[in-house]
Symmetry: C2
Subunit: 397 residues, 2 copies
């Protein structure tokens, strides 16, 4: 009997588990303090009426024999695949239906796509970035290289000549830095991947926050991407589906390596180890992409944007350097007085009762930085800003 020894390469606990653990410990020691969490990127606004209506209807269908549905098609219902295709058409991108794979969420896909590649592949990760990419590749026993985001490159690292990688993760708008690649910058990555025969896993979970011209919302806006890139998408941040669970992954037909279609490999993997996404969630997702749904969701997005703007104003007023917030729900700030991320986390938790996410949890390149999320309620966000200001002005209890 041998266990997967690669688990010993992992940190003891996952970043957000650790943030939760430390917050809970403080909270139970100080039950009178009201803690404001701007940490995990969880949404707080309710589902929009169009989505609720569709989900109610789906539940009702499951209550009657004539309309009951059992196992969903493993790769998603046609109604949702077609809604996703139409959504891409609005971005000027045309997809075949069998290039889209519906799942229970982007995080599952980020993890499970790892099965397509050999254990001796080399992985290139941005640093800092969403920690799940690293964990899954450590568990798979892969060699991991980093592409460092810094203040100098605006936390948007470019490919480096001489570095060889087989699998490249990109996340734009980036979690945690909020920095977003332009179409031209993504083009450099696509050229690099094609030159190396590498595959890009492009995490587009935050694409709906893009509002600047020229910033890419899909890697398929870049010529050549269909031959080298997989795109992973989410309804969590767009439609508030963090608890509903639905996402999808796009694998173009042209994406082949060693004469093998990655689209067909993934179809095979999913048919053997996945049994479809909840019907209720799929109907909700379809409604989120409808005209009415998109209109309603844009109002929620406005409110998160207003939160981001409040945090940016606050940090700007305090003279704290930051990135993000504009094409992203995240604001990535520099810790004060040269504090490391976890020390600042502790100070802010204890002195301001505000929880954010320590930058170093997203990679060594995040040391000395801190992530704030705009997904809180308006009232909490404004109060967190006041508490932050008080902390910076030395006026905390």
């Amino acid at each position: 009997m041998r266990l997967n020894g690669n688990f010993s390469r992992l940190k003891n606990s996952y970043l957000f588990t650790e943030v939760g653990r430390r917050t809970a410990a403080y909270s139970s020691a100080h039950p009178e303090r009201r803690i404001i969490r701007l940490s995990v990127g969880d949404v707080t606004l309710p589902l929009v009426p169009a989505v609720i209506h569709a989900m109610r209807q789906a539940v009702d269908e499951l209550s009657r024999a004539e309309t009951f549905r059992g196992y969903a098609p493993e790769h998603g219902y046609d109604f949702l695949l077609d809604a996703v295709r139409s959504d891409y058409v609005r971005k000027g991108i045309s997809l075949f239906r069998d290039e889209i794979f519906v799942s229970d969420g982007a995080k599952s896909d980020c993890g499970n796509l790892s099965a397509l590649f050999s254990a001796d592949s080399t992985v290139l990760l941005p640093d800092p970035v969403y920690p799940a990419y690293l964990d899954v590749n450590l568990m798979a026993g892969r060699k991991v290289l980093y592409s460092r985001g810094t203040e100098e490159n605006g936390f948007l690292p470019a490919p480096e000549r001489g570095v060889h990688a087989d699998i490249i993760y990109l996340c734009s708008p980036n979690n945690p830095t909020g920095a977003a690649y332009s179409k031209e910058q993504l083009g450099e990555w696509v050229d690099y991947a094609i030159g190396q025969g590498a595959v890009i896993l492009f995490d587009a979970a935050y694409e709906s926050f893009v509002r600047d011209e020229g910033v890419a919302r899909s890697i398929y806006e870049v010529e050549g991407a269909r031959t080298c890139a997989i795109e992973i998408c989410s309804f969590s941040k767009t439609a508030g589906f963090t608890g509903v669970r639905c996402g999808y992954t796009v694998i173009p037909r042209e994406l082949e390596r060693e004469g093998v279609s990655l689209n067909r490999m993934w179809a095979r993997r999913q048919s053997a180890t996945y049994n479809g996404t909840s019907y209720v969630s799929q109907r909700g997702a379809e409604a989120a992409l409808s005209e009415e749904g998109r209109r309603q969701i844009s109002l929620s997005a406005e409110r998160y944007r207003a939160n981001a703007a409040a945090i940016m104003r606050c940090l700007g007023g305090l003279g704290v350097p930051y990135t993000g917030g504009r094409n992203s729900p995240y604001i990535w700030m520099k810790c004060p007085h040269g504090l490391d991320s976890w020390t600042f986390f502790g100070e802010l938790l204890e002195q301001a009762n505000v929880v954010g996410t320590p930058g170093v949890g997203f990679g060594e390149g995040g040391e000395g930085y801190f992530r704030l999320s705009s997904f809180g309620t308006e009232a909490d966000t404004l109060e967190a800003c006041e508490r932050l200001s008080a902390y910076y002005n030395g006026k905390v209890r």
Copy 2:
């Protein structure tokens, strides 16, 4: 760039995908024929009122800011973990809350648990058995041995001295044969696993169909199982959740190998690559385990049992040898005239317009056998029985 070459060990398409493909091809060539599907183990009865009520309420909660919920705890909400614990107590088994991991379904867990073990582990599979176990281990590059179910051992293979395995899959009541291990028989497997230092993955998806005294509903009824067995459970067949998606896996605290807790490994794997199960599904699952839910579900189960009884009567009357049907929704019949499984599949599809599942799709040991499911509607099941009789009596068109 190297892809996972182990995918070349897989058959081109997953069993049920192939059954669907051949059925669709026949159907489109003969659109006037009404085909009855007793193939995939999908349920047909609607969700029971208690479950519907809970799911509606959950959707309503997501529509209001005060009751909205985002990310679920990665391992499941306490309300569901506690409901599962109570369900085990009814079987006389006591579990800790942190031994239970809620997921989107047993199939996902069957696949993803593979990540806990090294690629050079040896896997022992029953043959015939649910094909997903084989596929996931082929993809992982593992050596696979088989433990053959035969008419002689009642399709309940016992451990063989001299055979070494690291990971042992058991499915009882078995899919596809419907045969179910007694507590004593399972005890032999537990002793064997402990002797070898192996881990048993026990698929209990069909435990709710057990009605005979002495047949095990959980491997934890057997002494010692907490030190060697993982149990995978499903709401799909019990509560009709094939399209709702919810299941759970139990990993006891005592289960350690090489000084490492498999419970902690799985907690770590799930926190890095899974983001919780749909809130609506979890509330539905909780209701399925409530007193009212269980009472209502037992009425559905009665109807499937009546279908199984009808198929058993039909085969009995025709003198066709079979197993299952009593503690299982599946009936495992011998193909007539020494036909192989796919030939019989084709004959039955073309001559009786009845679809079943070719036994060989569950392993070489299934060649010459055929699986019928009792999950159809009553009317379809009775008509399928008539058509089967006509086929056997040479009276088909």
